[in-house]
């Protein structure tokens, strides 16, 4: 065995920068991701439809969470306004795909990629409009301004009833029609199975794009801006420019997430895009792990599963009521779990679920030694 092959078979030894920054920088990662994708693709054949619906929602939320992670985790700009961009995406896509003769605004473009892109682009446009203000601010000032964006957004959504159907009424979401087949209707496969596969493919595409973005020159510039924007400026990285890019890309992801989020429910209203949704996205990013793409996906899955987890809890903790007028009820349990999970992860595992996975992996990799 030559020296070269010995060296290359050693873990965590990279013989060049290109290798270290590679998409799959170890063979184990390559095999692991392939296996995971294969299992995910086969899952609809094995799992009941109600679980598929949760997983599907989780995958759509993951697209949005990746977007927030790009701006918050990678570029270090705290945004509490993600719900606004999700809302813009949801309304833009449903308007583009909507029935021109209908009660609410519609342009009748039913071609699916067109309305998904329209949702993303509309949100990205809003991101570009907001970014000049956001790039002037830093840290907590930015957090408060983006929080204000959510309130103004909710006002606009409620007031613009031609587009949104008005408060308490809402409008139809876009219909996912692929090759003449309406994915929200059961055919040879159930609607949940078809939507799951659609969301899986889209999540893979967007996760891969994001992963590639963050390991490119742009991603390194994001990290420089996050770690110290003045220092980044001194080194020739223009902070305003990269904050603008981060906001735009993040809003695009939020818009895509919004365009798909209500496809399964077919209906949504303006009250959905409140502060709670923003906090849920922040929770996904932090519980999953800031500045990791896989962490965002894990976090989104956990948050998507929380309603189900809290309703399952009622079987074990019988004092929790399922009726919304009694206390404590499942909705309160769910809300308390969001809060408690955020606090607990930040106190005990700041790197989130990704950090937990990292610990487990390190333990087995160096087994039986502790390091």
């Amino acid at each position: 065995m030559s020296t070269r092959t010995i060296l290359q078979s050693r873990p965590e030894l990279y013989t060049g920068y290109g290798r270290e920054m590679g998409l799959f920088n170890t063979r184990a990662k390559w095999i692991g991701v392939l296996a995971l994708v294969a299992v995910a693709a086969a899952l609809p054949m094995l799992v009941a439809d109600d679980l598929l619906r949760i997983l599907g929602t989780g995958m759509v939320l993951a697209i949005g969470a990746i977007g927030l992670n790009l701006v918050t985790g990678y570029a270090g700009q705290i945004s509490l306004g993600h719900a606004f961009f999700v809302g813009v995406g949801a309304y833009a896509s449903s308007a583009v795909a909507g029935d021109p003769e209908g009660r609410t605004l519609g342009f009748g473009v039913t071609f699916m990629p067109a309305w998904i892109l329209a949702g993303g682009l509309a949100a990205a446009l809003c991101g570009v409009i907001v970014a000049p203000l956001a790039t002037r601010l830093r840290g907590l000032y930015l957090a408060i301004v983006t929080l204000g964006l959510v309130f103004i957004g909710t006002y606009i959504f409620n007031a613009w009833s031609d587009l949104t159907g008005g408060p308490g009424v809402g409008r139809e979401a876009a219909r996912p029609i692929l090759l003449g087949d309406d994915l929200t209707r059961d055919s040879s496969y159930t609607s949940e199975q078809k939507l799951y596969w659609l969301f899986l493919v889209l999540l893979l595409v967007f996760a891969l794009l994001a992963r590639n973005l963050v390991r490119s020159q742009v991603g390194r510039a994001f990290a420089a801006v996050r770690d110290r924007d003045v220092a980044a400026g001194v080194m020739g990285v223009n902070p305003s420019r990269y904050k603008l890019i981060a906001f735009t890309v993040s809003s695009f992801y939020a818009g895509v997430c919004g365009s798909l989020l209500y496809v399964a429910n077919r209906h949504f209203g303006a009250e959905q895009f409140g502060l709670l949704l923003s906090i849920q996205f922040v929770a996904m990013v932090l519980i999953g792990g800031a500045a990791t793409i896989s962490g965002s996906i894990m976090g989104a899955m956990l948050i998507a599963a929380l309603p189900r987890i809290s309703s399952e809890l009622t079987n074990y903790a019988t004092f929790i009521s399922t009726s919304p007028v009694e206390h404590p009820n499942v909705f309160e349990t769910e809300a308390v779990m969001y809060g408690a999970l955020i606090v607990a992860f930040l106190l005990f595992e700041p790197r989130g679920l990704f950090g937990l996975w990292h610990r487990i992996r390190t333990y087995w990799k160096s087994f039986p030694f502790s390091y």
Binding site: G139, L140, A143, G148, A159, A231, V282, H327, A335
Partner: protein
């Protein structure tokens, strides 16, 4: 004119509530450099606690017990969840306070129940009419309370040893520690003060009407106030509170005249713009002054 003055009185009343919450935000920010997003929860819990106590011990007793109770709650929260994080990134601590906010707010909201709850204040919706200007008792009471609290805070920071320690710690934490200031105590006192102020604001925000499940939003409206005044300026918080309160009341009052489509350059809006006015004012101010009206401009070194 009387319509205008009525709006100004309403604005002064709600402005003093915003000022109370904003003072809490600023006190915490000055001591640890963090915005506590847990203020909405303390505000709601204050109102709920007072509404639970006031039938048995009367409004004033309940107010005193409620404010002290929430101050103690805030003290406990600081001790359990915030103190271990001192020295970590500001953003992380801010997000922890969001988590605390959700937990505390949900638990407090669970006590509201189905039946309407009142804080049991003696003012209700009673009012005086002076030359066509309607002056509600509750707004006068809020303004008077805010004035007393501000005077007390001024005396506290000016003349007590702990107030001096807090001012020293906000200037330079390490230098203060070197002079024997217990920074832990400063954190604890600032959280207790902020919790008490939020509870007090919550009670006055809830006077006259049943406590709504969305009462806590009042505390988020105080965020534009501190942005307007500058995160680290106590005087700015008070002035910002009144500016935001009056702007909001004026927009609510004149919304129908301004946005009915009669004024050429303004769009027609059916929903009242009042609730979002503070955020719009905040955007406008930040476009001109990114650090608020009275905030300290950060000097960055590499």
């Amino acid at each position: 004119m009387s319509e205008f003055l009525t709006a100004v009185v309403v604005g002064l009343g709600s402005g003093s509530i915003y000022a109370l919450v904003a003072l809490g935000f600023v006190i915490i920010y000055k001591s640890m450099g963090v915005i506590s997003f847990a203020q909405p929860a303390f505000l709601l819990s204050g109102a709920v606690l007072v509404s639970l106590l006031s039938p048995s011990i009367g409004f004033w007793g309940a107010l005193a017990v409620g404010v002290v109770g929430i101050a103690v709650l805030a003290l406990g929260v600081e001790r359990v969840a915030i103190r271990p994080m001192v020295g970590k990134a500001v953003f992380v601590i801010a997000i922890i306070t969001i988590g605390i906010d959700i937990v505390v707010r949900t638990v407090a909201g669970a006590f509201l129940g189905v039946n309407p709850r009142y804080v049991g204040d003696p003012w209700g919706l009673g009012s005086w009419t002076v030359g066509g200007v309607v002056i509600q008792h509750r707004h006068v009471a809020a303004l008077a309370t805010a004035a007393v609290v501000m005077l007390a805070l001024f005396l506290f920071f000016r003349f007590t040893p702990i107030g001096l320690a807090m001012r020293a710690a906000s200037l330079d934490q390490e230098a203060a520690m070197a002079q024997g200031v217990n920074v832990g105590t400063v954190f604890a006192v600032s959280w207790a003060l902020a919790g008490g102020l939020a509870a007090l604001a919550g009670v006055f925000a809830a006077t006259g009407e049943p406590i709504s499940n969305t009462l806590w939003i009042v505390a988020l409206v105080a965020l534009p106030v501190i942005i307007l005044g500058g995160l680290d300026s106590l005087g700015g918080a008070v002035l910002g509170g009144f500016i935001i309160g009056i702007a909001q009341a004026l927009v609510s009052t004149y919304h129908r005249d301004l946005f009915s489509g009669d004024v050429a350059f303004l769009p027609e809006l059916t929903n009242n713009l009042g609730p979002v006015t503070p955020f719009i004012v905040m955007f406008l101010v930040l476009m001109v002054r990114p650090y608020g009206l009275f905030g300290t401009k950060e000097v960055e070194r590499v």
